[in-house]
Amino acid sequence: MKRSLAIFLSIFVLEASIALRAETDAEVRTRKDALDIAGAFSNDGFKIRDGHWCGVVKPHDHALVAVNLYAGNQYWFSAAAEEPAKKIAVSVYDETGKQLTTESYNNEEKAAAGFSPANSGQYFVSVDLVEGEGGTFCLVYSYK
């Protein structure tokens, strides 16, 4: 049910965004893969936030996005990339730029980081290329 909804939402978001900017096939595919990872957490009560961030991950570079999180919630940030990227990692930093300890899931071009903020406020999520060449990625997050 959850996964069906996630897929439905991804299709809907795709349709809605066509009018703004035609998304690439790679972005659509990586978003679906990221939603698949996030869908695994749904069984544990995590809700997938209806929003995503797609971009290009490059060697020796952080793809960094700012998020605003609430103390008391638990979060998973799930990302998927596409060839020629072979392995990616997801990291979380606090508002001062300090890297935080997270639970991690890594499976080649798919990765996730789990985190429960002690303070509300701004955090930064980084998608990094560990192996391979630069490629398209997409990040989604879920919370409970």
Binding site: V13, L20, G51, A71, D94
Partner: protein, 273 residues
């Protein structure tokens, strides 16, 4: 599919032990210039009301139905005011979902559609209204929350495709103001330090303010938008606690009064001149 099954197994095992340990370890640091360059977007940098209410709701028993407000007009003529109220109304929808009140969800869903139509957004929203009614009828609360998020995003996407991009941030802002009004009221009713911590959001308010600064000068100079924007500067200061500091009851009250004042102006049929 095999990967997904593996992921589920691995992740669920991990999840059990994840959240006990949240302490930061100084294993790396990003310089300020990189943080400054980080992508910031409405779609992922601004949390939904669902996230805010989830954080509050799990810490204490919140009297969500006690946060309802009376019926609001859906006959505004000023487009900026409609957008701000639409955001507030969507926040009300999340409140009704938290209260698990199907009739209230249906009423708000109907008002959302009316206000959205007044802005000329997609006819597809009518289908959303039907879905909201159906899910409310069947008490599908998690699905309803997702439907509300999707509705909010559909309204924004429709605005963007109709060259109403400037109104999008006003929908977001209206939702945040109403959400903050409700959360501060709930915390004041039953103060709890852990709950009060959700109010620290200086970067979020700063980001919304920066987005308002990007809208057209004409819209920015409209008295209502100008007034809300000016008051947002004061609200930013009120939610700028140092990391780790918990707002006192008095500080919570000050935030509640500030956002309440803005909300009153947003709702008023007599626009400021």
């Amino acid at each position: 599919m095999g990967m997904i099954r593996l992921a589920k197994l691995g992740l669920l095992v991990l999840t059990a032990g994840v959240f006990a340990a949240t302490g930061a370890t100084d294993t790396g640091r990003l310089p300020a210039d990189q943080l400054e360059k980080a992508v910031r977007s409405d779609a992922i940098s601004i949390p939904t009301q669902g996230e805010l209410f989830a954080a509050l709701g799990k810490l204490e028993k919140t009297n969500w139905s006690g946060q309802y407000r009376g019926p609001m007009p859906v006959t505004y003529r000023n487009r900026a005011q409609i957008a701000l109220n639409l955001g507030g109304l969507i926040a009300d929808g999340f409140i009704a979902v938290e209260a698990k009140d199907s009739q209230q969800v249906k009423n708000i869903g109907s008002d959302i559609i009316k206000l959205a139509k007044a802005l000329g957004v997609s006819e597809r929203l009518l289908g959303r209204g039907n879905s909201i009614n159906e899910f409310a009828q069947n008490n599908e609360w998690d699905t309803l929350q997702e439907e509300l998020e999707a509705t909010q995003n559909e309204v924004k996407s429709s605005m963007q495709s109709h060259a109403d991009q400037d109104l999008v941030i006003l929908v977001t802002l209206g939702g945040w103001i109403r959400g903050t009004q409700v959360v501060t009221a709930a915390i004041m009713q039953k103060y709890d330090e852990r709950s009060a911590k959700v109010l620290r959001q200086p970067a979020l308010v700063r980001f919304m303010q920066s987005r308002i600064n990007e809208i057209s000068p004409e819209l920015r100079q409209e008295p209502l938008v100008k007034g809300v924007s000016e008051q947002l500067n004061g609200i930013e200061k009120l939610v700028s606690f140092p990391a780790g500091k918990t707002p006192t009851v008095d500080e919570v009250r000050k935030i509640n009064e500030a956002v309440g004042k803005v909300m009153t102006e947003i709702e008023s049929k007599d626009l400021p001149k």
